[in-house]
């Protein structure tokens, strides 16, 4: 095929765009690794932070992030998958409820994350937690009605919900109708068909979506500012009602609240690097699972 001048122009422009993006990414990651890597040590990863927040390590923030992510996954993912199964397998496409749920999911996905934080504060902490305190405790001091790792996790679960629902529904839809028909024609109930045929064949897609949603939730800071993340708390959370440190929030705190911002910079970069490694490894896991489930479908 002969290339005209316009073709070359377009190829050049798209090539430059690609180069710009790759360069930006390289500079960004390069900066973080360059400044962050020297700080990483066994001590940095396993120690509590010192009183100045710069010395010592970031172990409570790593622990808090992982703990919160687990709680968030446990709370949000089953609800999200169940909703997607309802939408894809049970609800008639014309049903009002299904339409309402879809509209809600789409709108939820477009809400800025700080609004989720306010929602968590208003709904979970003040309404749910406050009501629990009023009902079960005589103490004027709040027991449940205060920021904690539980409420932060639930808030993030709501934030990740739309992603889980949408990706799971997409994965369920890739299972051919013929397989459902074959199962039903053999006398399987709808539930058996979903459980034995649809879910196993959509497993890879569902897992990939879940992991991507979780890795997004793990790095979110805005929603947890009001809901349970602590500025400086050199203890590990042992109770659902405890506050906790979080890698993302720690970065924010180091950059804005630290007495000496310049001196905090190496710790800052180290923390960012750890957070990136954690979320990248989740994403990598998603990629591996997707590749493996694709391979499994081939004869």
């Amino acid at each position: 095929m002969r290339h005209t001048k316009k073709d070359w122009l377009l190829a050049g422009l798209t090539g430059i765009s690609l180069a710009v993006i790759l360069l930006l990414l390289a500079v960004l990651l390069g900066q973080i690794v360059w400044h962050g890597a020297p700080v990483i040590s066994a001590e940095f990863l396993t120690e509590k932070p010192g009183a100045d927040m710069i010395s010592g390590g970031i172990w409570p923030a790593i622990y808090g992030t992982v703990f919160m992510t687990l709680l968030m996954t446990l709370a949000g993912v089953p609800v999200g998958i169940a909703t997607a199964i309802f939408l894809s397998e049970y609800a008639s496409p014309r049903s009002r409820i299904a339409k309402l749920v879809r509209i809600a999911v789409n709108n939820l996905a477009g809400v800025p994350s700080i609004v989720f934080g306010l929602f968590g504060l208003g709904f979970f902490i003040i309404f749910v937690g406050g009501s629990m305190d009023a009902l079960f405790y005589d103490d004027p001091r709040p027991v449940w009605g205060k920021p904690s790792i539980l409420w932060a996790s639930l808030t993030l679960a709501v934030l990740t919900l739309p992603v889980v629902i949408v990706t799971t529904e997409e994965a369920l839809r890739t299972v051919p109708r013929e397989l459902r028909d074959a199962s039903l024609a053999l006398g399987a109930t709808r539930f058996q068909t979903v459980y034995k045929i649809v879910l196993p064949n959509a497993k890879g897609g569902i897992l990939t979506g879940v992991i991507l949603a979780v890795s997004r939730g793990a790095g979110e800071v805005a929603p947890i500012i009001f809901c349970g993340a602590a500025n400086f708390l050199p203890y590990l959370p042992t109770d659902l009602r405890d506050m906790f440190m979080h890698l993302g929030y720690h970065v924010y705190a180091l950059a804005t609240q630290s007495p000496n911002v310049d001196a905090a910079r190496p710790t800052l970069f180290g923390t960012v690097l750890v957070l990136l490694v954690l979320t990248f490894s989740l994403n990598l896991l998603a990629v591996i699972i997707r590749a493996r489930s694709r391979a499994a479908l081939r004869p």
Partner: protein, 263 residues
């Protein structure tokens, strides 16, 4: 049954399924109009007619597969051994265990050959491994596939050829002991050799099962079926013994279709 009709039939025919005043609608589309049809036990009934005449829709009404389509509405009665399968309190899941189905496009599960055939037994609650293994072997033999796959039962069903996959689907259907087997153009995607194998299989299965087959090939209907029903625009135009239908049809439309003047 009157004396004269008995005299016409070579052997007394038992009716396995009886269709009475069946109407099927897709939304506003009246797809099947007032069909009455008796399906004889242990015989092959072919449903023929031009595309869109409703023969597949009618077939899917016989095991309530249309129930899974949202906009589909059914009127009338279909009796299986005298009992209305659309009657109140009848579980469509139970109906589908008695009336199995083989689809146009072979649709094996992305599982092993063994697990495909065992699927119906397992969801039916069968746990005994020996019983399952025995039934899988019987079913694969019944579908004339055993000799080709006995050494690789654990390999993926997706590795089989198209014709083998369709016979696997038949074996999967046989495994749950159906009484009636519905086949929706089972050979339309297969080459002539694989088609011949399926047709031979249908003739064998007829000894034990009642078979209803939709086909767009009149030669196939003539080769495999005992009786033939001709559908046109959602109506049953004519139903009779296959050799009569193809040599002396009573209705003009049937004759025109069979002689290839339309369709």
């Amino acid at each position: 049954m009157s004396e004269s009709k008995e005299a016409v039939a070579e052997t007394p025919v038992n009716v396995k399924m009886e269709t009475q005043g069946v109407n099927v609608f897709y939304g506003d589309n009246h797809a099947i109009r007032n069909v009455d049809l008796d399906i004889a036990d242990r015989s092959v009934t072919a449903l023929i007619g031009p595309s869109g005449c409703g023969k597949s829709t009618y077939l899917r009404a016989l095991n309530r597969m249309n129930d899974t389509i949202d906009s589909c509405r059914f009127e009338g009665r279909i009796l299986l051994d005298g009992e209305d399968i659309y009657g109140r309190g009848v579980d469509p899941v139970e109906v589908r265990r008695r009336v199995g189905m083989v689809f146009q496009k072979s649709n094996p599960f992305p599982k092993s050959i063994f697990d495909n055939v065992a699927f119906g037994l397992r969801i039916g609650g069968e746990k005994d491994k020996d019983v399952i293994a025995e039934r899988v072997e019987e079913s694969l033999k019944g579908a004339a596939l055993w000799d080709e796959v006995k050494d690789r039962l654990q390999s993926s069903a997706l590795g089989l050829s198209g014709g083998q996959q369709q016979r696997l689907c038949i074996a999967r259907c046989l495994a749950v002991w159906p009484e009636v087997i519905l086949m929706d153009e089972p050979a339309s995607a297969l080459d002539p050799i694989a088609t011949a194998k399926i047709e031979e299989l249908i003739r064998e299965l007829r000894e034990q099962y009642t078979i209803v087959i939709v086909t767009h090939s009149m030669q196939q209907a003539a080769r495999v079926s005992d009786s033939t029903a001709f559908f046109y625009m959602g109506e049953l135009i004519e139903h009779g013994k296959t050799d009569m239908m193809f040599t002396r049809p009573t209705k003009k439309r049937t004759e025109e279709y069979i002689s290839g003047r339309f369709g």
